[in-house]
């Protein structure tokens, strides 16, 4: 019995002279939602295609629920639901016809088949478009058809390549809620370049660039890498006197003071050394200088900054 639902062992993929993936290893357990982050062309999709058994790895392998995708692809594919990038589906088929085809390929018949299709349709709310050809559907519905197809057999492992790409904010929220609701008894990998999505659904985030894993941790741990982690943001009612900035800089544990945001002359970031908590000290100083504050808060850190730092650092 395998302990991990997904086990990736040193995956390497070359396309001719191009090294798309250069040795990625990790494991994902039940209950985890792993977010793949990375710039375009980082190797996210290539890695997912290898896990899903579409691409043959140049080296290494992936083990899905104990089944090696290179040795026993059929068994691995049975345990896996996959949403390819762009959610491709046969344009001339109706939603119901398409789901029926996938259900039959997955070996369901009769009542069992109908029950599964019905459950998938309800889960992603496809009711209104069952008899429409897929080519006439909006982007949001197409994506949901792709999701329904991946969920049909209630797999233990879900690989979703950009599941919310191109959806409007309401649809994004819906898909995230859906993923979160399934997370408890599955191992899920999603790829995205929307950083807020990582916060919203992922229990773990992995930054991939140039075919390598550059960071792997909880979203909180990634945020903690930000220089804005635990920075104090303060916004005063009136323009700040210049003396305030130098007074703040003189506080113990302050690394830097930066002007912030649109309220340039009224807002400041006080950046701590080693993520130390400066809030009481800053509040103290403000009241000593008689500042009227509109806002005073602790920053959690900025994933986009961390993402940029990690992915643009020297290769």
């Amino acid at each position: 019995m395998a302990t991990h639902l997904i086990e990736i062992k040193h995956l390497v993929k070359h396309f001719g002279p191009i090294e798309a993936v250069r040795g990625i290893s990790f494991t994902v357990d039940r209950g985890e939602v792993l977010g793949f982050l990375g710039p375009n062309g980082a190797g996210k999709s290539t890695t997912m295609k290898m896990i899903a058994g579409f691409l043959t790895p140049t080296e290494g392998t992936a083990v899905i629920s104990g089944h090696d995708v290179t040795q026993d692809p059929i068994a691995a594919k049975k345990c896996l639901g996959y949403l390819p990038e762009g959610a491709p589906a046969y344009p001339d088929m109706t939603t119901l016809g398409f789901l029926d085809f996938v259900a039959q390929i997955r070996g369901f018949h009769g009542d069992e088949k109908r029950r599964r299709i019905r459950a998938a349709i309800e889960r992603v709310e496809l009711d209104g478009v069952l008899y429409q050809p897929i080519e006439t559907l909006s982007k949001g519905f197409k994506r949901r058809v792709g999701l329904a197809q991946a969920l049909l057999h209630d797999p233990e492992v879900l690989i979703l390549d950009e599941p919310t790409d191109g959806l409007d904010p309401n649809q994004k929220h819906q898909v995230r809620t859906l993923i979160a609701s399934m997370a408890a008894d599955k191992a899920i990998i999603i790829s995205t370049h929307i950083l807020e999505e990582v916060d919203a659904v992922c229990t773990r985030a992995m930054v991939i660039a140039r075919g390598r894993v550059l960071a792997d941790g909880t979203p909180g741990e990634l945020e903690a890498r930000s220089r804005y982690h635990n920075a104090v943001y303060l916004r005063a009612a009136a323009p700040l006197p210049t003396a305030i900035a130098s007074a703040l800089e003189a506080l113990p544990g302050v690394a830097a003071v930066e002007p912030a945001g649109r309220a340039h002359d009224r807002g400041l970031f006080v950046i701590p050394v080693d993520g130390r908590d400066l809030l009481p000290a800053v509040r103290d100083l403000a009241s000593r200088h008689g500042l009227v504050l509109d806002e005073l808060r602790l920053e959690r850190g900025r994933l986009d900054g961390v993402f940029r730092d990690i992915t643009t650092a020297a290769a």
Binding site: G53, P73, I74, Y82, P84, P91, F101, G107
Partner: protein
Amino acid sequence: MGTIGVIFRRELVSYFTMPLAYVFIVIFLVLAGAMTFYMGGFFERGQADLQVFFNFHPFLYLFLIPALSMRLWAEERKTGTIELFLTLPITTPQAVLGKFLAAWVFTGIALALTFPFWLTVLILGHPDNGVILASYLGSFLMAGAFLAIGAAISAACKNQVIAFVLSATLCFVFVAAGSGIVLGPLQDWVPGSVVTATANLSFLQHFTAIERGVLDLRDLIYFGSVIVAFLFANTLIVELKKAD
């Protein structure tokens, strides 16, 4: 129903949800009729047989079958559905066979719809129904060989037009293998045995043999092996090129 059966059914049904099926069948029947009656002089011959009708089949298939086969894989690759299709729990040979059989049965349907020609000779005279049945069987087998060639080429192409042109060209080589246009350039520099072997690859030669009503096992094996060989190539090409 097995996996191949499920794929087969989806493919076959999809022909009839698109205009393709109807256009193909209508054009096939119209051209078969026009060639038989005008070019073949069906009535003027005064014979109750379908020989002129079947004589034109290789040339009809030459451009109609590639039009049918060009989309088999190229379209899946273009729209990206191949990634969905091949990550379902199926093997590549199952996918190749399911698609091929659906296309072959579809051409079989088009071929069966030519039955009024048979009715015509049946009403006008006393045809040798054995010869006609053998010819239909030969024509169906030859269509399968054309399709297998077209399917393999479609798997190598993302662009359907290129798939069409290449398939039609390769099919032409197979049809004309016994004639000067193919043998001429070979004769001067390859051994005679190779020339003979090439000539024996001719679709025309084997089809003409069947058309005479002689169901020789060798002709059946010939078309069968062309189909098997190209389906095997098709499987390899899909494995190699699916992600490009």
